[in-house]
Symmetry: C2
Subunit: 371 residues, 2 copies
């Protein structure tokens, strides 16, 4: 799922996102609560109508954003991007979080009921329960206390939703517990026991890929097979392939679109960590496309040399073309993954991609085999 945090996938119209093959986007409860406000979006017919997107929408709970202001990570990004005043958390209590808006400095409040109310007004198809997203540097004691509070908040979210939630809106809970196996197991068990339509794995997944994979494994173990499992904020090609193998069903991530805006294309090259930085000098005089065979407009009509120039000059057209490429790559990758699973050939597919096969190459699943 591409991020449409502020009601748009940056640089693309909703119809284009659909035409790339995406079936769902992720909207952001926190950002839309701050601006234009959920009342405004409700008046304009809900988030689908507001952004001209008729397919499903999942909305993040707002927890990640509201807490990362206090813990300091997304705040940096927001500050940089918006050039607005700094946001900060005023207090965290059992009720929820009081904070200053990054837009106008006004005091705002978000708790589990607020989050669900905003998501109800947005009319998303999947709402995520409000959670505290503890960062990597939290100690185990704080992570445990926070996780228990997140579980209590989950119950309040479910309660609010049962009474006020829009018909048809599904609710997913978020597994927390940081990088601690016992906490992850406890959180997953709690989520598994709650009346929920699906599960998302959130919070700190560690500082490196190996740790992330271990944490996801702990979180998945107690979860029931039949409920959809979403992994929040993970979008590297190899991580997706690994997590799908572990049993994750869906992903959202800023990486493909954010990388694009900074001039980096996703490519089928594990030796380069699946990334091509088009701003680098090696692309300067290149008449090659980003990737031969890629069906996106950037690869169909343009060279690395041109995109290098646009990316260096921070031209809008560059950000857009590389965004189209990266989202095409990811859409093709996921399409390939689904086809491979359906064909019972997922390991071979994943292996192929990890060895450098392009996702738009026709998959060569064995139709007859010795196994």
């Amino acid at each position: 799922m591409p991020l449409a945090s502020n009601a748009s996938v940056r640089g693309l119209a909703a119809a284009e996102v659909a035409s790339l093959g995406y079936e769902m986007v992720l909207g952001n409860t926190f950002h839309l609560f701050i601006s234009p406000g959920h009342d405004q979006i409700r008046e304009l017919g809900g988030l689908h109508e507001f952004m001209g997107w008729s397919r499903p929408i999942i909305t993040d709970s707002g927890g990640f954003q509201v807490f990362s202001m206090g813990h300091g990570s997304v705040a940096e990004e927001i500050k940089h991007r918006r050039g607005a005043g700094e946001s900060r958390v005023i207090s965290i209590t059992e009720d929820g979080v009081a904070f200053r808006s990054y837009l106008d400095g006004s005091e705002r409040f978000m708790g589990p009921e607020t989050s669900m109310e905003v998501q109800a007004a947005l009319g998303s198809d999947i709402a995520l329960a409000f959670d505290e997203c503890t960062p990597y540097h939290s100690d185990k004691r704080y992570t445990a206390l926070s996780m228990e509070r997140t579980h209590r908040w989950l119950d309040r979210c479910i309660g609010w939703h049962a009474e006020h939630g829009p018909e048809g809106q599904r609710v997913f809970g978020i597994v927390q517990g940081g990088v601690h196996s016992d906490l992850r197991a406890r959180s997953s068990s709690y989520i598994a026991g709650a009346d929920l339509d699906g599960v998302a794995i959130g919070g700190s997944l560690g500082q490196e890929k190996a740790q992330m994979r271990e944490v996801v494994g702990w979180a998945l173990e107690p979860l029931p097979e039949e409920r959809p499992r979403h992994l929040l904020g993970i979008g590297d090609v190899d991580d997706i392939l690994y997590a799908v193998g572990q049993g994750i069903d869906s992903f959202d991530c800023a990486t493909p679109t954010r990388l694009a805006r900074h001039g980096t294309a996703v490519i089928a090259d594990p030796g380069r960590r699946f990334r091509l930085d088009l701003t680098k000098a090696e692309c300067r005089g290149s008449r090659e496309p980003i990737a031969a065979g890629c069906p996106c407009p950037a690869c169909r009509d343009h060279t690395r040399g041109y995109l290098h120039y646009l990316a260096r000059r921070k031209e809008l057209t560059g950000a857009r073309l590389i965004t189209l490429h990266n989202l095409t790559f990811m859409a093709e990758l996921m399409r390939g993954i689904r086809a491979a699973i359906a064909a019972g050939a997922y390991p071979a597919y994943a292996e192929g991609i990890l060895a450098g096969a392009a996702p738009w190459d026709p998959p060569r699943f064995p139709v007859t085999g010795r196994g």
Copy 2:
């Protein structure tokens, strides 16, 4: 012609510009000389191939940009947009202009031969002869001296092109002379007598619409009927309609795309000077499209309320959608103008637009009439 100053119409891929119906774009000799450099573009196959645009390209001579650094107008824009060091003119001589690059502060030089050499490397279909673009506040004495030098530069451009110009590249001269009727007449006569494929009217056209129209009238009078006449940098709806009536054949202008990036849509409303500022509060809760009946994606799929939000947040998707709308409006306007001229009904068409008719409404030219 939309501006593709830096080898792209901001936010659009070349194929999209073509799909809107545009037959030519304007590339900028000065900007492309500074970055990525004409040698680089030649190596990459010329400007058409570089930007993936197979239709005709006209290249501005660079005179407007190089001189407005000294005279101070485009420099402001460049500074603001690029965040780079200030450019400035070091000296203007009979040879040309020495200046410091806004990119890296290096000393660069552009004269008539340089300009033609750059345009030859770019491989544009129409090259404009190098000119000094005198601003409104120049006195008549300086304007006259500068104009005479521009005429001498024209001869050098023609001479260089005859010897080195790429086959098939056409050359247009630029009429200067500021807001002085006798100078405009003299400059047009000089251009009319030169061996050129077409004529462009440049320089200061005054400070208000009435003066612009008067100046264009002076400039047009001595020009031969059979050569194409281009009016540089004019793009307001009413100005275009007036100038076409006077005998102008083509236009280029930053306005439709620049307005779009700042949240203003071009609309069929003469009472609003054909502009709708989507960032204004009146659009906040609006479920109307920018313009009912407009075939662009912004009007087809999105509301003013959504575009208001995107424009206020400076979201890329907003800049892009409004750009698509504005370029659709201008393309439809020009299509209507051509059809009306072909039908011998131009005055009625112009009158209709000036009275608020939308350019995509079927033109109601009288098939039978009393006249």
